[in-house]
Amino acid sequence: MKEKSGTNAAAGVKKLLANSRIIVLIVLVAFLSLTTKGKFFTYGNVVSILYSISLTGIMICGATFAVLLGGIDRTVSGNAAVCGAMAATVVLAFGQSNGGALVALLAGLACGIVSGFFHGLVLSRFAIPAFLLTLATNEVLYGIVQFITGNQLINVMRCDLMNWIGESRLLGIPIPVYILAVCFVVCYFVLNHTVYGRYVYATGGNRQASELSGIPTRRVIIIAYTISGFMGALSGFVMSCMNKQASASQAQGYENDVLAAIVIGGVSMRGGSGSLQGAMLGAVLIGVITNGLQLLGVPSIYHNLVKGVIIIVAIAWDMLSAARKSGTATNPFAGLFKSKKKVTA
């Protein structure tokens, strides 16, 4: 949790620059602006990058709560698919009216909340690895989606409200980007300016100590996974609006992109450290890399390779610089080549 003890803007910027991801981002932006003859750094392109990460971004707002508590939520994609399918079915039942869309949204979000609540309940009571539990329940959710959609595409073409969300723009910026911004601001506020946010960081850092200082740790965990379920569902609804369609295989694979962004954004997997803005920065970084590669016309087959290398370089730089600063960095190669020779007499 970034301590704002009145350090002035300069110190803040300095700290920001120390974070290697910002530097990698700046280097990337500069490089891409030059090589794409200025096409990269235009208003339109920046908006298109934000648009491309809006769905994963909404999921990240929810999943970060789970990761800060030392867990993981792989069911963001399952919740998105269930909510999308439920919403499409409900809105069709209401004859694709705007009122129907609102009811559909509530129905979808309700599914997300129920799913998140269940995960919180189980994970706070039993010491099960969240990675594995949510892996299994994601399968269950996609099974439920197949029930709802009967493995067919549910087309929702005529609903004005959903079409408005899916395709229209305000001041040139698509609605999903606004939704992402609102989610980010709300979650940022909850994490950094509310009691609950402080409880999340305390419980993530040391659950036993938090319990002993009177924090209702079980409730903290349940609420965290409920928020994650809610955000997954909301992202699913927005996706269905964009695609004007709900399908049984919607949002598959998004849980890996969400996890990659959160982890690259510097949120520790053991819980207790990292921030929402860091996770969002991870998403932006991946978005910029993908966008840059597409603009440069790099064939798709090389995208994965480049993405993997850049991530390793950014994180390694971060880790080594942190170790060097704190004076504990012994020569990493010492262990590798065990010196056979006697100690220099």
Binding site: Y201, L212, S273
Partner: protein
């Protein structure tokens, strides 16, 4: 200093952490077959020096000599090769492996990589029988008690027939009986010519065990004292640079006349405590003392609601009270837990963060946090406990032991408490910080808070208690509530002596 019988010498050692001088031109040497104590407050550089000697940290300046020749210690292996073995404060055992695997870790007897387990098991069992340790070679470490684990640590050092064994706070969690066993072993080692560097906060232990004492303060040498001219108060002054009175007898004990805040009636829990009844009055400091494992911590955890109890009754200000951990803080309880590192604080939060987390019932407005109020409370907590350096924005995990405990105290001082529960407040804390913590406890009782404290540090008990209850095997066996109690009275009561010499009934 005769050169020849010097085993180890460290000259002009320097170490810089994030441009802070942790060690500034420190000199330190150890003779063969000598018990050399290293004293100094937390943060004086003791453990940093040891970590350089054991190759954990690289040194930034100075030289190290073995038998007169200069040596470079770059890693654990090179230290072990030189015959340096170390027992660290926080237990460094592999919980999922067995005792013999732990002891032989890194120096297995093996052919082509395949370990000859039976040979190792026999060798370790012989060593155990030789020194009479209460442990089996095949036990899995995570099933052992803290005391037994400490024994395995020492076994590890012995197994490498090291020439220098460094012991960092070895008796912190041992009972007096187990400590006696350790002293016997140290004497045996000294006969065999093994040198020992001994670090402990139990000064009486250090004074009668060590041949020489080196004192460090703020990363610099503060003096070397031979066994003959050890003067306790002098040495303490060198350690903390100011006067401290060491109590050998308690104040005038009295039963306070104020109305009881916390009352326990025949409280019982199978295997922990049995038929315990006592009261803690407003503004009174009641101390439960006794041997490790006599049920004291369990009582405190039960009152706080962390553990259940089988039968008996608890009254708070006269009315029946069933403790629930979630509501304890709200109803005015405070707890300084036994194991500070794992139960005391959230390491990644700052002092302000930890303090705020415990006080949100009065800090937050409708769930929202006011950053300014939080900072104010953080600063107030830092003043109340006189945290040095007084910066509330440092992560508590990075503070020294004494400051961590002050931060935990700060969590509660900022609240208006009815009952303050304290469990072994000064384990692993230096003399200076200990004194300040006692002053804080006294200030609490003067403000009318009922304090129930658990402690096995006799000097501490005498220094702080208004009333002393001695426990053995889960029962209160003796109460001192009048006149003056001395160190011997308490020692005798807690180890089961009933006044006649020499008869000790079973614990």
């Amino acid at each position: 200093m005769a050169e020849k019988d010097l085993l180890f010498e460290m000259r002009e050692i320097e170490k810089i952490f994030a441009h802070v001088h942790a060690l500034d031109h420190v000199n330190f040497d150890v003779r063969k077959g000598e018990v050399h104590a290293l004293l100094g407050e937390n943060g004086a550089g003791k453990s940093t020096l040891i970590k350089i000697l054991t190759g954990v940290y690289p040194k930034d300046g100075g030289q190290i000599f073995l038998d007169g020749r200069e040596v470079e210690i770059t890693s654990r292996e090179s230290a072990a090769a030189l015959g340096i073995a170390c027992i660290f404060q926080e237990l460094s055992l592999v919980p999922t492996l067995s005792v013999y695997q732990n002891v032989m870790l890194g120096k297995e007897i093996s052919k082509f990589g395949i370990v000859r387990a039976s040979a190792e098991r026999r060798q370790i069992q012989d060593l155990i029988d030789h020194y009479g340790f209460p442990v089996g070679a095949n036990d899995i470490v995570e099933t052992l008690s803290v005391a037994q684990m400490q024994m395995v640590e020492i076994l590890k050092a012995l197994a490498t027939d090291a020439r220098l064994i460094i012991m960092d706070e070895p008796t912190a969690s041992l009972s007096s009986r187990e400590s006696e066993l350790l002293y016997k072993i140290i004497h045996q080692l000294r006969e065999k010519g093994v040198s020992i560097i001994y670090i402990s906060h139990r000064l009486e232990e250090v004074f009668n065990l060590s041949d020489r004492i080196t004192i460090l303060r703020d990363g610099k040498n503060a003096g070397v004292v031979e066994k003959e001219n050890i003067v306790p108060s002098e040495i303490i002054k060198m350690m903390i640079g100011k006067e401290v009175s060491e109590a050998t007898a308690s104040r005038e004990l009295k039963t306070s006349s104020a109305e009881p805040v916390l009352t326990l009636k025949n409280l019982t829990r199978l295997g922990a405590y049995n038929d315990v009844s006592f009261e803690v009055k407003r503004g009174e400091v009641v101390v439960l003392t006794g041997l490790v494992g006599s049920g004291r911590t369990e009582i405190v955890r039960t009152v706080y609601g962390a553990d259940p109890y089988d039968s008996g009754e608890i009254l708070l200000e006269g009315s029946p009270y069933s403790p629930k951990i979630g509501r304890s803080v709200a109803t005015g309880f405070g707890l300084i837990p036994e194991d500070r590192r794992t139960q005391g604080f959230s390491p990644l939060l700052s002092v302000t963060g930890n303090v705020a987390v415990t006080n949100y019932d009065k800090l937050s407005k409708k769930g929202f946090v006011n950053r300014a109020d939080e900072d104010a409370l953080g600063h107030r907590a830092v003043e109340l406990v006189d945290l040095r350096p007084p910066n509330p924005n440092v992560q508590v995990g990075n503070l020294s032991g004494g400051n961590q405990q002050k931060a935990v105290l700060g969590k509660w001082l900022t609240r208006d408490l009815k009952v303050m529960l304290i469990d072994e407040p000064t384990v692993g804390i230096d003399i200076g910080a200990k004194d300040e913590i006692y002053e804080i406890i006294e200030r609490l009782s003067n403000e009318g808070v009922a304090v129930l404290m658990v402690s096995s540090d006799i000097a501490e008990v005498l220094r702080v208690a208004h009333r002393i209850l001695v426990m053995r095997g889960g029962r209160i066996t003796k109460e001192f509530n009048s006149g003056v109690a001395t160190q011997e009275d308490i020692l005798m009561a807690s180890s089961g002596f009933t006044g006649e010499e020499g008869k000790e009934d079973a614990a």
